[in-house]
Point group: C2
């Protein structure tokens, strides 16, 4: 069918005005008078809907009049300017084909539904204004990320989802198995015999693609991953999901400074891309979801990010310990309240905090010369706190091996990782951006369940 997207009508108005066009979409609202009526139609390609005027000259006027919200229609008619009205134009219908009716119990009537209710109908909620906006912006952010890295010749690497090792030691994992749970094979010692499992061993869902990503950075110099990761944490918060997407770039011949430059450019690029390509959606969020959003994002895109070491940050924060639930002191991890205070109250812009105590960071981070801190960095942004965590990686074979042993990790599991330090080791760094957190940040949505199409959280795996 030769249908025009409503997006094209809005974006290339001049081309279509006074022309006969055909659009297909879903009824958002309908009202009728004696011998004419209005249908507001959205086809999902553009945030603003389109008004259709129809008259009793239509063959199927009676049927059209009775349409319910949600019905699918294909409308042909002339696109005419409406200089007196709020909307720029409308279609004067010559034909309204009813593609699919909408049953009277349609769960999305023209009233405001709560986000909680809409979560129970995740297959229908993208038909509402808020979720149409969220999921289009989510799509645009994903594309902006690919575009940013590809324009810089980064290689996109699909790191594996099913993994044989808990490499980061980062929290609880989901087991992946094809063993018959009702009839588990046992070893002579009576343990479950995972050598009989699909992969011949015990396997889990990945918590990070970083270590695999590093192997590719040591071949391609600059790479990024963008894929799903999993955490089996039993935490029911507005910021945690069991399944989420991560972006993990890794750059070789690069240090922590290069890493910060990359993170800052990427965030600014994404913000600009979304403001430019989804102005209607962003205005909607600014008006109805998070007042001040656009100003805040514009400010971030235009600020030079501040930089402070962890040690300096602690000194600053200690002066304000009366304001915090958790008092800060050197050696302790920063809580969200501290992070937000730093970025919102002290620096009033995004800030990179660097060089954390090695005890509170992962084994693979590069030890600084002081022997106490590592070349880690967190990027904190107003309104949210930490959005990115990264580090320069330990590239010295002996130091890395020592740290692996110190922490009681299994050396054999990290042989491939040590190989990278044995054969042409190069300084390198990278960071992780939680994609959903990024979507929340850019839309102002405050619950992760509302930025994932079909969220997976503890006790919840619908559709």
């Amino acid at each position: 069918m030769e249908l025009v997207n409503i997006r094209d009508l809005y974006r290339n108005k001049e081309q279509y005005l006074e022309q006969t066009v055909t659009i297909g979409g879903w009824v958002r609202s309908i009202r009728s008078s004696k011998n004419f009526g209005f249908i507001v139609v959205n086809d999902g390609t553009f945030f603003e809907p389109l008004q259709i005027v129809y008259h009793d000259a239509l063959e199927n006027f009676a049927a059209v009049e009775k349409l319910n919200v949600g019905a699918a229609v294909i409308v042909t008619g002339k696109l005419v300017a409406t200089p007196q009205a709020k909307q720029p134009f409308e279609i004067q219908a010559e034909e309204v084909v009813i593609e699919g009716e909408s049953a009277p119990d349609y769960p999305l009537q023209k009233k405001r539904h709560t986000f909680e209710y809409l979560r129970t109908i995740s297959h229908l909620r993208p038909r509402t204004n808020t979720f149409e906006a969220v999921f289009r912006v989510r799509s645009l952010i994903a594309y902006a990320i690919h575009k940013f890295f590809q324009e810089r010749d980064f290689v996109y690497v699909h790191t594996p989802l099913i993994t044989g090792s808990d490499c980061e030691g980062a929290g609880e994992m989901f087991r992946v198995t094809t063993l018959d749970m009702d009839n588990l094979p046992r070893t002579e010692e009576g343990k479950v015999d995972f050598s009989k499992d699909f992969f011949g061993k015990s396997t889990n869902l990945t918590v990070s693609g970083q270590l695999n990503g590093e192997t590719y950075a040591m071949a391609f110099k600059n790479i990024y991953t963008f894929g799903p990761t999993f955490r089996a944490e039993n935490s029911n918060t507005t910021r945690h999901a069991a399944e989420f997407w991560m972006i993990e770039p890794e750059i070789a011949f690069a240090d922590l400074n290069d890493d910060m430059i990359l993170a800052e450019s990427m965030l600014k690029y994404i913000i600009r891309y979304v403001l430019e390509n989804a102005p209607e959606e962003m205005q909607f969020f600014n008006n109805f979801v998070d007042k001040g959003l656009i100003d805040r994002l514009t400010h971030v895109a235009e600020s030079e990010f501040a930089r402070v070491t962890y040690t300096e940050a602690i000194e600053i924060l200690e002066k304000h310990n009366d304001k915090f639930d958790y008092k800060v002191s050197w050696g302790a991890d920063l809580q969200t309240e501290h992070e937000r205070y730093l970025t919102e109250e002290i620096f009033k812009r995004p800030v990179f905090v660097t060089d954390y105590p090695k005890e509170i960071k992962a084994f693979y981070m590069k030890l600084n010369e002081d022997g106490k801190t590592v070349a880690a960095v967190d990027c904190l942004v107003p309104g949210i706190g930490e959005i990115i965590g990264g580090s320069q990686r330990e590239d010295d074979y002996d130091k890395l091996l020592e740290r692996i042993k110190e922490l009681g990790l299994n050396e054999e599991d990290y042989k491939f990782y040590l190989d990278l330090r044995k054969y042409g080791s190069a300084r390198h760094a990278g960071f992780g951006l939680g994609f959903e957190r990024c979507v929340m940040y850019l839309t102002g949505m405050s619950n992760i369940r509302d930025v994932v199409p079909f969220p997976r959280t503890v006790g919840n795996c619908e559709l």
Copy 2:
């Protein structure tokens, strides 16, 4: 560090010639004479390496001379044209900083290694010519797919990986669980009690995002998915992996014809993008992996794809039954040998085969008026057979429900899917492209293990 990518030197030669530049990369080969030598360096940003000339004027000449293949170096020097040589230019080194040496047992010496051997060192193989080419092209194909759909305003949807239902009924699935395998909770009847599992029920890894994708197409009109899918099939072939990526677009107010137009444009777009953006890699594949590749792809990009119904195809193939291991007859599924015969011998170009018997296709495909066939389509291409499978979906509530019951599927599992036919049903169609199969097709690589960074197959889950 201010390093120049070797890609930039090649692509913007004029800007760098006679200038002093600094590059960082890994030694591919080295040879030395009495008081000078050559290092061939690759930095992973470009398929062609760069030659470095060094002299005994270097402070660390003795150390440089002894470098092993695989070592990481940072080289500063003037880029000079070499009109007499094969390569367009070289660097006359003023400084060679040894970033990381390469141990003498480096597994990638300058000789030809078999693909089988390289599979055992998946963390190092992207440092070889073949795999550098494969994985850069893989990255470019992924981006081309996003670009194609985003330029057409399709919304990218992340459908879930962990799922509570086996919706397509498509083969064996991996179970996802956090239950303690050594101590499984039991119901009163003695069965494993999955209500105690993380999601409160039995869950698996998805085999397709299509049904979820359809819910979004009925909101956004045009959407695509691009994410991992899983099959726990115990098949050890060159074409099957347990974990692979799929692209599944779905278009509303669209029929099978629109679906074919979309598939054809997408394939041509990807081919053109890769030929344009990776000419060196494609030439390499053409020379060393699959002679005739470039001609074949160019032909596909320039052909109008043929179209034939399944019934017509069977009539054609029956005349050649003497050539096939499996004889064809109406009602049987096409084997790869038949598919290849059709596209290579009969049509000599890509061909869409449409309207298959309903018995050999999925429940959700739209029943044709003949009551015997469904609006399914497979796209067959020379050299490979089926690369895309799609269909128009059944959009009639009653017919879909009947089919669900006929096949003994659980109606309750499909309530959300039936809702799409109850509230504003619109004709819609979509297809699935196996990403790895697409990468194999475009590179000429013949084993799926060689186009996945870290392949997962039965008995194999390394790194």
